[in-house]
């Protein structure tokens, strides 16, 4: 998290990372969406990829002088108005705990809450899809209650399955396919988030909304 001014840093010469200051919040994210839309029209930029209150700009070709882009980026940010998106609302049934949530115990230990409380707090909000990333179709969600925030695991787990509902720090998300993860898996859902034959291939996009519904809590 950066305080004060936005921070721009290189990711090698392949991309630039723009990080908005302050706490992670939706208004900032809407401005990030606006910034992404603007930057993607620049000839130097291959793709603008929003993250959690940040934006990665991948270069079509690395510029000789990154400072020029940085200046343009700062100016574009200053002018960026929060983008309103006509999002859809999707509801996912979740089985919390038990074998579906192998790390529920770690979240219980860290927060001091029990599994029922964690499930209730986790499924209360309407989450906004802030960005896609991590793996095909995976959505980074905003709006999780900080009471159930739990740090990422010291050593990432080799594989968690598709549909795994996890908490990493102050964020939550649902895996779209099996793979490694440093997050804490508290539940499981079924959903097809990605189909490469579809256009666009991802089911959800930034601005859509997600609700979790408790199907069951296994203690």
């Amino acid at each position: 998290m950066t305080t004060g001014q936005p921070r721009i840093s290189p990711l090698g010469t392949s991309a630039l990372l723009f990080e908005a200051p302050g706490e992670t919040e939706l208004t900032t994210q809407r401005r990030i969406w606006a910034l992404a839309r603007e930057a993607e029209s620049w000839p130097e930029i291959c793709e603008a990829v929003p993250g959690m209150n940040n934006l990665m700009l991948s270069f079509a070709r690395p510029p000789k002088c990154p400072e020029t882009i940085e200046t343009r980026l700062q100016a574009a940010w200053a002018a960026a108005m929060p983008l309103q998106v006509d999002g859809r609302l999707i509801e996912l049934p979740v089985v919390y705990g038990g074998e579906s949530g192998p790390h529920m115990a770690d979240v219980v230990a860290h927060t001091g809450l029990d599994a029922d409380e964690i499930a209730a707090i986790h499924s209360a909000p309407t989450y906004v899809v802030y960005a896609l990333g991590s793996h095909p179709g995976y959505c980074y969600l905003g709006g999780m209650d900080p009471r159930i925030a739990t740090p990422r695991r010291k050593t990432p787990v080799v594989s968690i399955p598709a549909g795994a509902v996890s908490i990493g720090g102050a964020q939550t998300g649902v895996s779209a396919s099996a793979g490694p993860s440093g997050w804490n898996t508290i539940g499981s859902t079924t959903m097809g988030f990605f189909d490469p034959a579809r256009d666009p291939p991802a089911l959800l996009r930034p601005g859509d909304e997600l609700r979790f519904r408790i199907a069951e809590v296994i203690r």
Binding site: M1, E19, M52, S58, P62, H135, G168, P196, P201, A202
Partner: protein, 329 residues
């Protein structure tokens, strides 16, 4: 057309990667040694986007079911066409029925671990989101989104229309573009956003340690072993886009270099980024070997890209001059 007779795990179809799909959480994938792939296509007169087979576990055997020009680049895997040895980084023509065998790479002046089998016309699998690279996590691209297996058959696309000579080769770029520090292969690294948050001891370790590539290293990431890299104070990061080459430092302080199959975003702090121009060097470094990091600048990184491009341009010029000469074989 070729038939896979025997392959180990982790053999996949790759091209130079899938761009423009990061916004959907789709990483680029692509050949770990992009210079080897490019050189193979150059030897064959292929389009630069032609896909190949990346082999990481040896031995590997395939039968050509139709006459086919092919090139094997990357690690010196002592290729045999039937019983005839082929030099490394060489293009040759196979007759229908001939068997190509790739054996465990020998380590000479250059230590490498992955070989690239390129075919005239490229491996013909469907384009998915603009690329033929295998996206293992999403199970699409390449051949059915998976590793190759014994019995798989692969078709080739249309070869270059100009009849090409074969039976010649290229010097491996590792010899023309050497980069070593204290007798160890080295890669150049640009500091990343959280670099300044690390201790002096961490910086010292980053630039001076001979980092060992642990057995838990693969196309997703290279887990390195060495001194613990400690931040001055705990670093909070939010999930953000990353690229291959990003050196993440999880809480255990052991750096992980994200490679071509890495997820396109992450939340661990990043101390530096291996430059794109040197990713092929790292991608070839064998398990158990050690590498050095060289601190570099933006302009040096751009210059390194240009040197790679020059090497490829020279190779293409010479290969086309020689390969397209009409008349004698």
């Amino acid at each position: 057309m070729i038939e896979i007779l025997a392959t180990g795990a982790l053999t996949t179809v790759q091209d130079h990667g899938r761009r423009g799909a990061l916004k959907w959480g789709v990483g680029t994938s692509g050949a770990l040694d992009d210079l080897a792939l490019a050189a193979g296509n150059i030897l064959l007169g292929n389009d630069e986007h032609a896909a190949c087979i990346e082999i990481q576990i040896f031995p590997f055997r395939a039968r050509f079911t139709a006459a086919c020009a092919f090139a094997v680049t990357g690690a010196d895997c002592q290729a045999l066409l039937d019983d005839v040895p082929l030099p490394p980084w060489w293009v040759q023509t196979a007759r229908a029925g001939q068997v190509l065998s790739l054996r465990i790479p020998r380590q000479g002046p250059w230590h490498a671990s992955r070989s690239y089998l390129c075919l005239a016309g490229g491996v013909d699998v469907p384009l998915v989101l603009g690329s033929r690279s295998t996206q293992l996590r999403g199970a699409f691209g390449g051949l059915e989104g998976r590793e190759l297996r014994n019995g798989d058959t692969l078709r080739t696309g249309a070869a270059s229309s100009v009849a090409r000579r074969t039976n010649f080769g290229l010097r491996p770029p590792a010899l023309d573009l050497p980069l070593m520090v204290d007798d160890l292969p080295a890669v150049r690294v640009l500091p990343a956003a959280e670099y300044a948050h690390y201790s002096d001891a961490a910086h010292e370790a980053l630039w001076n340690e001979a980092w060992r590539i642990t057995p838990q290293s693969n196309r997703y990431g290279y887990r390195l072993q060495g001194p613990q890299l400690c931040p001055v104070a705990p670093i909070e990061t939010r999930s953000h886009g990353i690229v291959p080459g990003v050196i993440q430092v999880p809480p255990n302080g052991q750096p992980i270099v994200q490679m071509r199959d890495a997820q396109p975003s992450g939340g661990y702090p990043k101390i530096g980024v291996v430059i794109e121009a040197d990713l092929w060097r790292l991608g070839q470094a064998p398990i158990g070997s050690r590498v050095r990091f060289i601190k570099t600048s933006w302009s040096e990184a751009i210059a390194a890209d240009e040197k790679n491009a020059e090497w490829l341009a020279d190779a293409r010029l010479l290969a086309d001059l020689y390969g397209e000469r009409s008349g004698s074989r």
